[in-house]
C-alpha cells in the first residue's frame, strides 16, 4: 500500500524540480516510518490504536504532498509569468487550502521518536504554505514554458494528474477522508477546466 502511494506521488512529481521531489520523498519516508515496522517500534511497542493513528497521519502527509507539489507549480508559473498572477491567484489559494486540509491536524516533528528528521522537513513545508498567499518564498520559474498559454496547459495537466491521484486514493481511505479527497479531486477537475478556458466570457 505504501509502495503504491509512493508510485502515485512519483507520477505527480514528474518533471518537477529536484527540491520538490525531495520533499515528496521525505513525506514518503515519514509514511514508511510510521506505517511499517521498524527497530524503534519493536523496542518500544505502541498500543495498536496509536499505531493506527500514526499510519493515518503518515497517509495524510503523503496526500498533502501532492497538493504541495501542485501549489509549487502554481508558484513557479506565477514567478515566470507575473501577468498570470491575477488569474491564478484564487486557484493557487484553493490548492493551498487543500494542502492544509489534508495535513493531519496535529503534526509535530516529535510525534515519532524515529521520524524526527523527515518529519521536520514536512513541518517546514506546512509552515511555508501557511504564510499568506503571495508571501511564499521566491520560486524560480525555471522549467516553466516561456509561452504563457503552454504554461497554463501544463498547469491544467498537473491539476488533472493530481485529481486522478486523489480519486485513486479515496477508494481505500477511511470514510471522512474519502469525502474530502473526492471534493479535492473534483476541485482539481474544475481547475483544469478553468485553466483551459479563455479568461473573459466574451472570448469564448
Amino acid at each position: 500500500m505504501i509502495k503504491h502511494k509512493e508510485t502515485g506521488v512519483g507520477r505527480t512529481g514528474e518533471g518537477h524540480a529536484g527540491a520538490t521531489r525531495r520533499r515528496v520523498l521525505a513525506a514518503g519516508a515519514v509514511a514508511a516510518v510510521a506505517g511499517c515496522s521498524s527497530p524503534a517500534r519493536e523496542s518500544n511497542p505502541l498500543p495498536a490504536g496509536i499505531q493506527e493513528i500514526r499510519a493515518e497521519e503518515a497517509r495524510r502527509q503523503l496526500l498533502a504532498a501532492h497538493s504541495t507539489v501542485l501549489r509549487e507549480r502554481y508558484d513557479a508559473v506565477i514567478a515566470r509569468h507575473p501577468q498570470l498572477a491575477g488569474r491564478l491567484g484564487a486557484l493557487r489559494a484553493a490548492v493551498a487550502e487543500h494542502e492544509q486540509a489534508l495535513l493531519p491536524g496535529d503534526v509535530r516533528p516529535t510525534a515519532s521518536p524515529s521520524g524526527t528528521a523527515p518529519a521536520s522537513g514536512v513541518t517546514a513545508s506546512k509552515a511555508a504554505s501557511a504564510s499568506p498567499s503571495g508571501a511564499a518564498a521566491p520560486v524560480s520559474g525555471s522549467g516553466v514554458p516561456a509561452d504563457p498559454d503552454t504554461a497554463l496547459k501544463d498547469l491544467a495537466a498537473a491539476e488533472r494528474r493530481t485529481s486522478d491521484s486523489f480519486a485513486e486514493a479515496l477508494v481505500e481511505a477511511e470514510p471522512e477522508l474519502a469525502r474530502l479527497l473526492a471534493s479535492i479531486a473534483a476541485a482539481g477537475a474544475a481547475h483544469a477546466y478553468l485553466l483551459t478556458q479563455a479568461p473573459a466570457e466574451g472570448a469564448r
Binding site: 488569474r87 484564487a90 486557484l91 489559494a93 484553493a94 487550502e97 487543500h98 486540509a101 485529481s163 480519486a167 479515496l170 477508494v171 470514510p175 471522512e176 474519502a178 469525502r179 474530502l180 479527497l181 473526492a182 471534493s183 479535492i184 479531486a185 473534483a186 476541485a187 477537475a189 474544475a190 481547475h191 477546466y193 478553468l194 478556458q197 479568461p199 473573459a200 466570457e201 469564448r204
Partner: protein
C-alpha cells in the same frame, strides 16, 4: 446505523437531488435562451437523468424501493431570464455535489468511486455555469460562501 443502511440512505438522498435537478433543468432549458448555453443545459439534463436512473437501480440493488419524484419542486429563487437560469443551474450542481460527497463517505467500492465521479462532474458543470469555483465542492461546511473568481 449499519454501513449498508447508511449507504442506502445516502443513495436515496442522491436520488432525491437528481429528481430535483432533472425537474429544475427543465426550467433552466426553457429560460436559458438559444446558443451554446441551451446545448449545455440539454447535455446536463441528460446527464442528470442518467444519474437518476442509475441511482434508482442502485437503491433496488441495495434492497430498497426508489423514492419517486415529487410532482413539482420549489425553486430557490424566481427564474425570469437567462441570467437567473444560469444561476439556478449552478446552484443545482452545488446541491448535487453535496449529496454525492455524502455518498462517497457512506459507500464503499464501486459505488464510492461512482459517487466521486458524479461529484467531479457536478463540480465541473458548476464552474461552467458560474465561471468560478470553490475550494471544496460538495463540502458545505468548508465553503462559507467564498468563490474563486477567475476573471
Amino acid at each position: 446505523m449499519k454501513r449498508p443502511d447508511r449507504a442506502l440512505e445516502a443513495v436515496q438522498a442522491a436520488l432525491g437531488a437528481e429528481h430535483a435537478a432533472v425537474y429544475a433543468y427543465g426550467v433552466v432549458g426553457s429560460r436559458v435562451g438559444e446558443g451554446p448555453r441551451e446545448a449545455e443545459a440539454r447535455t446536463a439534463y441528460a446527464a442528470h437523468r442518467a444519474r437518476r436512473d442509475a441511482l434508482a437501480r442502485t437503491v433496488r440493488d441495495l434492497g430498497g424501493t426508489p423514492d419517486a419524484a415529487a410532482p413539482a419542486y420549489a425553486l430557490p429563487f424566481p427564474v425570469p431570464d437567462a441570467a437567473a437560469a444560469e444561476r439556478l443551474a449552478a446552484v443545482l450542481e452545488d446541491r448535487v455535489a453535496g449529496v454525492y460527497s455524502d455518498l462517497v463517505r457512506a459507500a464503499e467500492g464501486p459505488l464510492r468511486t461512482e459517487a466521486a465521479r458524479a461529484l467531479r462532474e457536478a463540480a465541473v458543470r458548476a464552474v461552467r455555469w458560474r465561471g468560478s469555483g470553490v475550494a471544496f465542492p460538495g463540502l458545505a461546511e468548508r465553503t462559507r460562501n467564498r468563490r474563486h473568481r477567475q476573471r
